[in-house]
């Protein structure tokens, strides 16, 4: 037995123990290595966080760092002096552009105001930059103070419960439940996440503030170049980018501190809520999980959002703000109208739609004279609109009129190309293929809201060829409703095509424009067309309709009041000729009652003349119609719409007119009647003839009744 013991020890115990030992040593080494690695990583991260934490501490309390650096001012002065040289060069470019009227956008009226402003403000560019930075930094210290100072890493660590992740109590529970390994794994992971989140936030914030300092210095020193870019069209993007960056880097501290503050605030609120500590797994409970998870998400997610938000939105908002602000400055510079620069584009659009005077208002003075009284108080508003539009252009807001003009010019070119293509078409089939293609292009353009010159050109060609139906036109109107120049050009082309493609009623509905989609010029073109020979059939169908407020209004009234003074005369003559009833209605019910109406004098003269002829005053519309037709030729009378002939007031007026003619010259009256009869038999309607005879022919029976005699056969008629 004693001899066995050494054998057992040598061959069993030692190997067994060695294996166990070796395994134990291996496991220990492995465990220690992992531990060392993670510990090292965490220590490294923590050290970095500590470093950036100190940096954060310094940078957060020195917002005006750039102001204090002499080197910044020195470099800025050098750049400013250099930029001043370029202003002279730009002045020479402007001079040439003005002389040769090219290139667009470089002429004196377009560039000089900007140049003068830039040349003045470049000397204040550093101060302006510093002021903007300071102003936008204002919210940051507020959040910082609420966080208890820049050293908020401890607060973040507390929020993420770093010190509470491991506890002896939980360890003991896990050991008892034989889940110690799981406990350490889970808790270790959460601990790691919390540490990483805390340190990443600190490092990121510190890094951002560090970069911010560098960026602000760079932006301040190059600010004179920005003003040069402002005055030079080709460098406009530089101006935009500079402002984007200044706003971004100025605003970011406020946003970052704000996000951290609110994340910690929410963390505090969560802690105050009694979330039940339901065990989830391996020592982690629901309350811990939620608090740590939500806080970490808010911190990381919030900071990510800040970066995204500022890089996109800050640029747009800032640009608009800057644009409006400098619009104000330029407005004051020009005489006090800058405060509406931000609304100038919209305002000028409205005025242009209503008055037809474009923003550039070439010939404004002449048009105002031509318009006469019509523009009255609108003249002032139109002048203002002109200034406003100019300011809008100078302010860097998208100028309405020049942009539309460019689109229009490009569309004219595209239109010529299409027309050439159509001319070269070898057959009608080929032409039809092109037309179908244009229709499709116009439809798709309208559907997608494309305001391209090509879409506009397609619509114009279709209009000119009378291939534009009302449905496609309405879509085009909807698409180009904010581009009155485009609408006007389409209508002009359509007029050349004699408004082919639509019925008379569709034309009238479009012209009446109850939905207020068309601009003034377009409507005027349509009313002028009605007054032309080609529009006679439309004039004949003019009628009373309900306006957008539900009031009865005649086409004549709308057309007359919408047209310029010069066109009113033609309209009154032509449309009044075809529809004396509408003209008489307008005269009697509108002009007669308005002493300030431009035609009131004409009305009083007419009324006086009527009294001279008849011995009484004008009593109703038939009297006005009588005055309108009493001197009309047979051709004019035959041109009056048949429906008008059938109206009672017209018949009465007609009868009066012939009696008057007979009174003045019986032979002329006879000639007129015969001539009219001839024309009506050739071209007129049976209804017109009937009315003519009923109103002017004394029947044989009537003659006999009237004369109370029946002439016996054989009775001679004297030569007299």
């Amino acid at each position: 037995m004693p001899a066995l013991i050494p054998i057992l020890i040598r061959w069993v115990a030692i190997p067994l123990l060695s294996g166990a030992t070796l395994w134990g040593i291996g496991a220990a080494v492995k465990g220690v290595s992992y531990l060392a690695f993670f510990t090292g990583a965490i220590i490294f991260l923590s050290q970095l966080a500590a470093l950036f934490g100190k940096l954060l501490n310094s940078l957060a309390t020195l917002p005006n760092f750039v102001l204090d650096l002499q080197i910044v001012t020195g470099i800025w002065e050098i750049v400013r002096n250099f930029v001043n040289l370029f202003f002279i060069l730009i002045l020479i470019v402007i001079a040439f552009a003005t002389i040769f009227n090219r290139p667009e956008g470089y002429r004196a009226k377009e560039l000089l105001p900007k140049l003068i402003i830039a040349a003045l403000l470049v000397n204040f560019s550093l101060v302006i930059t510093q002021t903007v930075i300071e102003l936008l930094y204002v919210p940051a210290p507020i959040f910082l103070k609420a966080l208890g100072g820049p050293d908020f890493s401890g607060k973040i660590a507390n929020a993420l419960r770093i010190q509470n992740i491991f506890s002896f109590r939980d360890m003991a529970s896990a050991f008892t439940a034989n889940q110690l390994q799981g406990y350490f794994t889970t808790s270790g992971l959460i601990y790691l996440i919390s540490i990483v989140v805390t340190n990443v936030v600190i490092v990121w914030v510190g890094l951002v503030l560090l970069i911010r300092m560098v960026m602000l210095i760079a932006l301040a020193t190059v600010s004179p170049v920005t003003w040069l870019a402002y005055s030079f069209p080709r460098m406009q993007h530089f101006w935009d980018d500079w402002w984007c960056k200044v706003l971004y880097w100025s605003l970011i501290p406020a946003f970052i501190f704000g996000v951290i503050y609110f994340s910690l605030l929410i963390n505090q609120s969560l802690a105050n809520i009694q979330i039940p500590p339901i065990p989830l797994m391996f020592g982690i409970t629901l309350d811990k999980f939620l608090i740590i998870g939500i806080t970490a998400t808010l911190l990381i997610g919030g900071l990510w959002w800040v970066n995204n938000f500022l890089s996109k939105t800050a640029c747009l908002a800032g640009y608009g703000l800057v644009g409006a602000t400098f619009g104000k400055v330029r407005g004051w510079f020009w005489g006090g109208a800058g405060y509406v620069a931000g609304k100038a584009a919209g305002g000028a659009q409205t005025i242009y739609r209503k008055t037809g005077i474009p923003s550039g208002a070439e010939g404004l003075r002449e048009r105002m004279i031509a318009e006469g009284r019509l523009f009255g108080t609108d003249a002032m508003r139109t002048r203002e609109a002109r200034v406003e539009e100019r300011l809008a252009g100078i302010a860097g807001l998208r100028p309405t009129y020049p942009t539309q003009r460019i689109t229009e010019e490009q569309s004219e070119k595209a239109k010529r190309d299409i027309e050439n293509e159509l001319k070269q078409a070898k057959s009608t089939t080929e032409e039809n293929v092109i037309i179908e293609r244009l229709k499709k292009a116009a439809e798709e353009g309208a559907k997608k809201g494309t305001k391209s010159p090509e879409t506009l050109a397609a619509i114009k060609v279709l209009a000119k060829r009378g291939q534009l139906d009302v449905d496609l036109f309405n879509k085009a109107v909807e698409n180009f409703k904010n581009m009155p120049l485009a609408l006007t050009s389409v209508i002009n082309e359509w007029k050349e095509g004699k408004f082919g493609g639509i019925t008379i009623q569709e034309f009238l509905d479009t012209m009446r424009d109850k939905d207020n989609k068309l601009n003034l010029d377009s409507r005027r073109t349509m009313y002028n067309f009605v007054a032309s020979d080609d529009g006679k059939k439309i004039a004949e169908k003019m009628d009373t309709y309900k306006d957008e407020k539900g009031n009865d209004i005649t086409d004549y009234k709308t057309g007359y009041e919408i047209l310029s003074m010069k066109d009113k005369r033609d309209f009154s003559k032509k449309v009044g000729g075809a529809r004396p009833d509408l003209k008489a209605d307008y005269t009697f019910n509108v002009i007669r009652k308005d002493e300030k109406h431009p035609e009131y004098d004409g009305w009083t003269k007419m009324a006086d003349k009527f009294k001279e002829i008849t011995g009484r005053g004008v009593e109703d519309i038939k009297d006005v119609i009588f005055m309108g037709i009493k001197d009309a030729s047979a051709k004019d009378l035959s041109g009056i719409n048949t429906e008008v002939w059938k109206k009672e007031e017209f018949k009465q007026a007609f009868r009066m007119a012939f009696k008057e003619r007979e009174r003045i010259s019986p032979e002329a009256a006879a000639r007129l009647k015969l001539r009219l009869e001839r024309i009506l038999i050739d071209e007129g309607s049976a209804d017109q003839l009937r009315v003519l005879h009923e109103t002017t022919t004394e029947t044989t029976a009537a003659f006999r009744v009237a004369s109370k005699i029946i002439t016996p056969p054989g009775e001679k008629i004297s030569e007299e």
Binding site: E662, A670, R675, E677, A686, A701, G714, I717
Partner: protein, 155 residues
């Protein structure tokens, strides 16, 4: 003397007809249907004041016609123009409608045909021959019948 407005219904063929038949819708409309088919030369003739003037100055007054008779002449002329009445029967028509003697009727007929219708006579004759030829009698006309006019051989 030029025709006056109030004289149109007496001396102007068209207005005389309208005055007589304005209340007779059928005749009124039928007339206008026929007028629309007339050549321009006939319409020019019809609506020329010279026609009414001729009826007044060369027929009504010299022959002492009253208003009704003058109107009747005008209507008759219109009916000739629209081929409602055969030109060959002009004398007999005038005689019966105006209730005058043969000689007077013949004179008036000759005046109308030779002078008034001169600008459109050939065309009128062609139209009447075309329209009335099938209705004309097959045996030749008697030469001594003063109430008819041989359109083919006379005039």
């Amino acid at each position: 003397m030029p025709i006056l407005f109030q004289e149109l219904t007496t001396y102007d063929p068209y207005n005389a007809y309208v005055s007589r038949f304005l209340d007779d819708r059928f005749r009124y409309d039928k007339l206008h249907d026929k007028l629309k088919e007339l050549p321009n030369s006939f319409l020019d003739f019809l609506f020329d004041l010279k026609t009414a003037d001729f009826i007044k100055e060369r027929v009504a007054i010299p022959f002492g016609l009253n208003r009704n008779q003058a109107q009747e002449i005008g209507i008759f002329i219109l009916q000739l123009i629209v081929s409602d009445i055969y030109l060959g029967n002009i004398t007999s028509e005038i005689r019966s409608r105006l209730d005058i003697d043969d000689q007077k009727a013949k004179t008036i007929a000759g005046l109308i045909v030779a002078e008034l219708f001169k600008p459109i006579l050939e065309e009128l004759k062609k139209m009447h021959i075309q329209k009335f030829a099938k209705n004309m009698p097959s045996r030749p006309q008697q030469q001594n019948d003063d109430r008819t006019v041989d359109l083919r051989n006379n005039l």
